[in-house]
């Protein structure tokens, strides 16, 4: 039995869909951020799988950049959540509707 690229792509698709579902059903801001990290990781699996099966190195370098962006995103996202918590005493995203009023 040989592992093909489809094995990795299917795993990535499942993880990405779970991450999407997490972003949509949860209201806690931090869990939404975690789901976004999960989606980014699913994409990284795809990039590394294509890179290795094409015998190239480009995908792995792209993963490197995705990780840098994910780190920046997590830092800024968490800082925003902390500021929101100081204003609202909650990180429930359904309560962040100041611009709607």
């Amino acid at each position: 039995m040989e592992l093909t690229i489809n094995h990795y792509l299917v795993l990535s698709a499942i993880l990405f869909s779970i991450g999407t579902a997490g972003v949509l059903i949860r209201r806690t801001g931090i869990v939404i951020l975690m789901s976004i990290e999960l989606m980014l990781n699913a994409v990284n699996i795809t990039l590394v799988a294509f890179s290795r099966y094409q015998q190239q190195v480009t995908g792995e370098i792209l993963v490197f950049f995705v990780m840098a962006v994910a780190a920046a995103e997590a830092a800024v996202g968490l800082a925003i959540l902390v500021v929101v918590y100081h204003h609202k005493k909650s990180v429930d995203v359904d309560e962040i509707n100041s611009l709607r009023r």
Partner: protein, 184 residues
Amino acid sequence: MESLIKPAAFYFFSAVAVVTAIMVIVKRNPVTSGINLVLTFCSISAIYVLLNSQFIAVIQVLVYAGAIMVLIIFVIMLLNLRPVESIMDKSTGVRIAAIFVFVTALGVSLAAILTSGGISGRSGGITDEFLAKTGTIQVISRSLFSEYLLPFELTSLLLTVAIIGVVILAKGMKVRKKTGPGSE
């Protein structure tokens, strides 16, 4: 025997990754979600090892399971978040939309993967035998510091901007507090 270990390891780590990923989104306590996400990241790191891409596997553990998750769990503890009563407390419309998007995203991507005829195109020539001789770090860094030098330098700019943004967000909080309530 040798040909059985790799698929067995792949299925084991994939199962761990998928189960812990589901745990991340269904657990009511954010701390439990965070711990499960660490397990997901470690299993994904094992998947990278199976793909013979050890550098990315190490970076995955260092950056995701190490830095990002410590930051997230630190913020959860700082904010003292309580477990929510229910994870499905959105309106019915949003709930239906979430299930619809989940099924569509999974279905479309699985259909696309399973009906495709495999990969085509030019092979880069970096085979597993070549990597066994030179190592992944050398191959990646040679490409990173020549072909992709500009994106690499722009990444440092991005991280600087992120640091400045975070500092401004944290500072702004103090300034607003000093001027008192009702000043916004």
